[in-house]
Symmetry: C2
Subunit: 386 residues, 2 copies
């Protein structure tokens, strides 16, 4: 098999992350895409593949016309929303590794604060076109009409079993906001918080989630270009190798939560994803220099750390308390501030940060980063300095 | 590069094609999928990848539970509706060739006659989630509210330039219904028509499309399993090699029509797709033993034949009149009866027929078929006896 690791992320681009972009989602997609293509040292006409989320409103053909891409030989979309946020890289890498496309543009752009807000009660399916939407229909009629309510129910048994308190969660949030405070791209740039600020923020779903445990709603766009390692050597940037890429959807799961397993504690998809990433890459948790962990809400960071073997089950709260996830710690987590601190571009901005860390160009640079884990639990990547 | 041709279609399955299935779309997807998995000699737990259309209503997680698939490592969806109907095979083959998945299930199932009918005026986007939907919004307000109206406008300049008459179209339809008449899976089994029947059928969009020029609206499900050639040799069926697979989306196109090009005649995507398929496979039109051509409406068959070099521009009507597309002709076309004669499962039933032709198990078997073209113009495959 020609492995995915013959492929690389060769370009990244993004718009500003805001609460009101003042322009269309298509404009955001085009700006981020053009930036990524130029960053790679490519022209739009070099792009022959495209992938985005099923949910993205930006039509491939419209984006082609905006950018001047002449012909696409490969297109695909990924279901599961943020749960699939590593999947576009996996699909693009598959296309390139198999020869189906040469240079694949990945994009995700939305006005998720000034337009349709994910955090508000939604009478329609999100995840239209696959990826757990029917589960939402089942739960909606019981009042579970926002992600905060849906996910809090999943966090509760985990927090109960391991004695995780709101303060424990707050300690993660303080770190994410500390990182954001020194990242000029972050919405919460220069706005660090204290644990007291976290504890003073209002309950969204008591006793699991306070306001500051919730990711932002953001307007913005992010894009990446995936090409082969071979071509990457002739391009503008240091290539970032796709050392491993997987999705992990388990039979009893629903997007990122589950109410039906025999044991309601934990995140089986993340264990499965981690296992697959270690197998593909030949690496393990001890080899990761940075972890980019998708946090729609803070508790999932704890569960994801445990699932990937950075600490034992139930010990993530102590791992965080020890300072391990700080920039100078054993495993810096979300040096960009993550989705709580930097912005919520449906997880894609965690991939661009991983690339920056490996290029050595991040605002909060971790010294000598060689391997970065990017994960949302049910899809994940290991990116590597090539 | 590990080419797509290291992959094969190893299993096919389908439900009956009807006008009222009497069961849910999920049930149809599950029946077709289980049939395809069993046909391959695999178990549901062997499946670790899934792909369907963006538009498919069947959620991956629900289908996993129905079938007993334990874990998926790869999922994707394809935009462009029927225009992308060869794309799921391309994506699945990429996943397998790159090692991202071992055995990928492709499915498409709907109640497209008893449920939401594609042929009726639709106030909503079809192609939600990408693939030309915005174009539809632009044209809807001018009364172009059904595929027949939208596509007829595209056929008109072609028919005008080359003097293609309704009778010319009818000659294709007669052949498709002749093939369907001897295919027990076809809705129009045992119901051949004459050219007079075609000419007596009512106008849908005068002077381009009569009722019998339009594909069916069908209920049903179709599924395929893609694996590696290497594993295929240990499975139940003779493998069918994916000798080439591509999509071809051009900057000025819209799904399968276009109103904005300098020259409104013809189907540039189909020319681009053909070129890519010949390059990938090292084969040419003279090597094709059967052509499976997606026909939402009969005129596209003529344009597609020309784009693939089976005859010169403007000469498809004479090519058809000569008998070339009959079972014993130079290039048998749609021996299953196609989407007009067999059923409309969004193009997927043309892929299963290609597999049967290469296995030698088709109802209307073409002798010694070695290479089969499957195309919808803007996505295509060459399948090959391995």
């Amino acid at each position: 098999m020609k492995p995915l690791k013959s492929t690389a992320i060769v370009g990244i681009g993004q718009t500003e992350f805001s609460k009101q972009s003042g322009r269309s989602e298509l404009q955001l997609a085009a700006e981020a895409s053009l930036a990524a293509i130029r960053d790679a040292g490519l022209k739009p006409s070099d792009i022959d593949g495209m992938v985005t989320y099923v949910q993205d409103s930006n039509d491939e053909l419209q984006l082609m016309r905006c950018l001047g891409i002449e012909q696409l030989r490969w297109t695909g979309r990924t279901p599961f929303g943020g749960g699939g946020s590593s999947a576009p890289v996996q699909l693009a890498a598959s296309a390139v590794a198999s020869g189906a496309a040469r240079n694949v543009l990945i994009y995700r752009a939305f006005n998720e604060r000034s337009g349709q807000r994910f955090g508000q009660p939604a009478p329609i399916h999100y995840g239209v076109g696959g990826g757990g939407a029917p589960a939402r229909s089942l739960h909606f009629s019981y009042g579970l009409d926002t992600p905060a309510k849906i996910y809090a129910l999943w966090y509760q048994p985990y927090m109960h079993r391991y004695g995780v308190t709101s303060e424990d969660l707050g300690r993660y949030v303080v770190v994410s906001r500390k990182h954001a405070a020194t990242n000029p791209n972050a919405w919460f740039y220069d706005k660090p918080i204290t644990l007291e600020d976290h504890q003073a923020s209002r309950w969204i779903v008591e006793p699991m989630l306070r306001l500051l445990d919730c990711c932002q709603e953001s307007d913005g766009g992010v894009a990446l270009v995936v090409s082969s390692m071979e071509r990457a050597r002739d391009l503008r940037q240091k290539p970032v190798r796709v050392a491993a890429a997987t999705q992990a959807h388990r039979m009893d799961g629903h997007i990122m939560f589950d109410y039906y397993r025999p044991d309601l504690v934990g995140y089986p998809e993340a264990y499965a994803s981690a296992q697959e990433l270690w197998t593909q890459s030949g690496l393990g948790p001890q080899d990761m220099d940075v972890a980019m962990i998708y946090e729609n809400f803070s508790p999932v960071v704890l569960m994801t750390l445990e699932a990937h073997g950075f600490c034992k089950e139930g010990e993530a709260k102590d791992f965080i308390k020890s300072g391990a996830i700080e920039l100078t710690g054993q495993l810096p987590v979300n040096p960009n501030g993550g989705l709580l601190g930097e912005g919520y571009i449906h997880g894609m901005n965690n991939i661009t940060e991983a690339v920056r860390q490996l290029r050595g160009t991040a605002a909060n640079q971790v010294a000598d980063a060689e391997n970065v884990l990017v994960t949302v639990g049910r899809s994940g990547l290991i990116l590597q300095k090539a």
